[in-house]
């Protein structure tokens, strides 16, 4: 990310980027997935430094932040020594490093109570639900975090075969739920479905194509 774009991102997050430059930034964001990732990272770090609230993160994201910290340390020092770009201006170097470190620590703490502690698995026995063994995240690409486990049940000699639950079933539930979801929750549900990246609902009931209604 260039210094200019970094300053644009910072100004935008502060609510101070002129609208003409905001449009340019938006265009870049829709085209550049790498910039989107950097933007998300800076937004998180910015919120942590502003003290507007801790940020809940996954372990995978914590790893990416840690990797990013390594990558950003050099420009940070250089920036402070020279012109001090806008992004870093309000913060002393030590404070920035401490703040970013706090984000990473928080991420690890949050992970301890994350869904991975209670993975969703498919059991072969309905009558005697199997205790989930140690889980291994297999996909965090979509907003549905799928967790699979292939280790045997503790105390059991027989290896148990687990199946990753089909996210299509969850998508069906979420879609049906959105109809009754109240308030801002509905927005959360629908925007999440828009960015979800899972498989086609298995065996869904197909109907003949019908033309989309025009208002």
């Amino acid at each position: 990310m260039s210094e200019q774009i970094r300053e644009q991102v910072s100004a935008f997050l502060d609510g101070e980027l002129p609208s003409s430059e905001t449009e340019l930034l938006l265009k870049r964001l829709t085209r550049d997935s790498e910039l989107r990732e950097s933007f998300g990272r800076y937004a998180l770090i910015g919120e942590a430094l502003r003290g507007s609230g801790a940020v809940r993160l996954s372990k995978g994201f914590a790893d990416r932040v840690n990797a990013a910290i390594d990558g950003e340390k050099a420009p940070l020092v250089a920036g402070l020594q020279s012109a001090q770009p806008r992004w870093w201006k309000p913060f002393a170097g030590a404070a920035v490093v401490a703040g970013v470190a706090a984000v990473a620590v928080l991420a690890l703490q949050q992970r301890a109570v994350s869904p991975a502690a209670h993975p969703m698995v498919a059991s072969n026995s309905a009558q005697s639900p199997t205790v989930a063994p140690i889980a291994t995240p297999v996909a965090v690409k979509s907003n549905v975090v799928r967790v699979a486990a292939n280790s045997p049940v503790p105390g059991s000699r027989e290896p148990v075969s687990y199946v990753t639950p089909p996210p299509s079933r969850l998508t069906n539930y979420v879609f049906a739920h959105s109809k009754y979801s109240t308030g801002l929750g509905r927005r959360g549900v629908l925007t999440d479905l828009l960015i979800e990246d899972d498989e086609v609902p298995a065996g869904s009931r197909a109907v003949p194509p019908v033309p989309a209604r025009t208002p």
């Binding site: 935008f12 609510g15 949050q110 698995v121 308030g183 629908l190 960015i195 086609v200 065996g203």
Partner: protein, 341 residues
């Protein structure tokens, strides 16, 4: 002497009274702004681009909302990645999934906007959420009112809203847990509120040639089925059953019971499905039952098997809430001897 004591008592009482009244006034002011926001979100035309941030991921989306002659049409479009779009009119919601060559169609019953307004704050909501005004700020170079809706316990999420002082539109929204940790954010980068919006702005850009159309089954609200005998026998504080019906979900041949529980702000859906038997050897194998917790966007889903039925609770609430409700689902005593299939 007594006059001195009275003065000593009066001064702190007066200060406390003033603080209390200012707190009440601030809360009333915040409620008024939330009501203004509701009116803007549901009754105004707007066309904006926003960023959806969650766990360091950012997605840019466009929202177009038009009210014309009492008819509402909305379009929500992902500008990067999947290219997915939602278009809603008064009757149905259509979800275009070009990455899956699929179009989902769902009949609509609610009238709320995609961006989501907040319900009116009645006494029951006040028991479980605390609303307050925070120091004013700026978003998109505009002065904004900042309102916090804080949950009073761990069973629900809260919101922080940055409302445009001119239009009351939420230029920035954060979903937070009970400790104040941010779960996701919506941040507008562009927002226009034109008097007129052309039909072309509400037409999906997705080409539907060759795509598969799927309709979620209509609700079967008035026809009781044996599944309707399932209920959550215990609920987190403030939650109550608001809707009970049945719905045919994609991939299922029989309807699932759909129970909706709400505290007035947060909503949890519970789906109860009879477990499908494998049937004869020629039949496709039944889906294995699901067990456990999954993250679903900003909320959670929890599945378990109870009395031979797949029970799944889904909602924009903390994990413990869906888990609590799913585990509490039981066949009511009156129907425990009734056949379930």
């Amino acid at each position: 002497m007594s006059r001195v004591i009275s003065r000593r008592l009066l001064a702190p009482c007066a200060v406390m009274g003033a603080l209390l009244s200012s707190t009440v006034l601030a809360a009333d002011d915040a409620r008024e702004w939330l009501e203004k926001m509701n009116q803007a979100l549901t009754g105004k035309n707007y066309d904006g681009t926003f960023m959806h941030l969650s766990e360091g991921r950012v997605e840019t989306m466009r929202i177009v909302h038009r009210v014309r002659g009492g008819r509402v049409t909305e379009r929500l479009q992902a500008l990067d990645g999947s290219g997915r779009e939602f278009v809603r009119n008064n009757d149905e919601l259509t979800c275009y999934l070009p990455d899956q060559h699929t179009v989902l169609v769902e009949p609509r019953q609610d009238r709320g906007p995609f961006l989501g307004s907040l319900p009116k704050f009645g006494a029951e909501v006040n028991d479980f959420y605390r609303i307050e005004s925070l120091p004013a700020s700026r978003v998109l170079n505009r002065p904004v009112k900042v309102i916090a809706v804080n949950p009073k316990d761990q069973f629900r999420f809260g919101y922080r809203l940055w409302l445009d002082e001119k239009s009351a539109m939420p230029l920035k929204t954060q979903l937070c847990d009970a400790s104040g940790a941010i779960i996701e954010q919506i941040l507008f980068a562009r927002l226009e509120m034109p008097d007129n919006i052309a039909d072309s702005e509400l037409t999906p850009a997705v080409r539907t040639d060759g795509m598969r159309w799927i309709r979620q089954g209509p609700p079967h609200g008035s026809s009781p089925t044996p599944l309707s005998a399932f209920r959550a026998m215990e609920l987190p504080p403030g939650f109550r059953l608001t809707i009970s019906g049945a719905q045919t979900l994609g991939g299922a041949s029989v309807p699932a019971s759909h129970l909706v529980y709400s505290d007035g702000l947060a909503t949890v859906s519970v789906f109860v499905e009879a477990q499908r038997d494998s049937g004869p050897d020629t039949a496709p194998p039944a889906d294995p039952p699901m067990q456990g917790l999954a993250r679903v966007g900003s909320g959670y889903a929890f599945s378990t098997v109870i009395q031979g039925h797949q029970v799944t609770a889904v909602g924009e609430v903390p994990a413990q809430t869906v888990e609590f409700i799913a585990h509490a689902v039981k066949l009511s005593a009156d129907h425990s001897s009734a056949p379930q299939h």
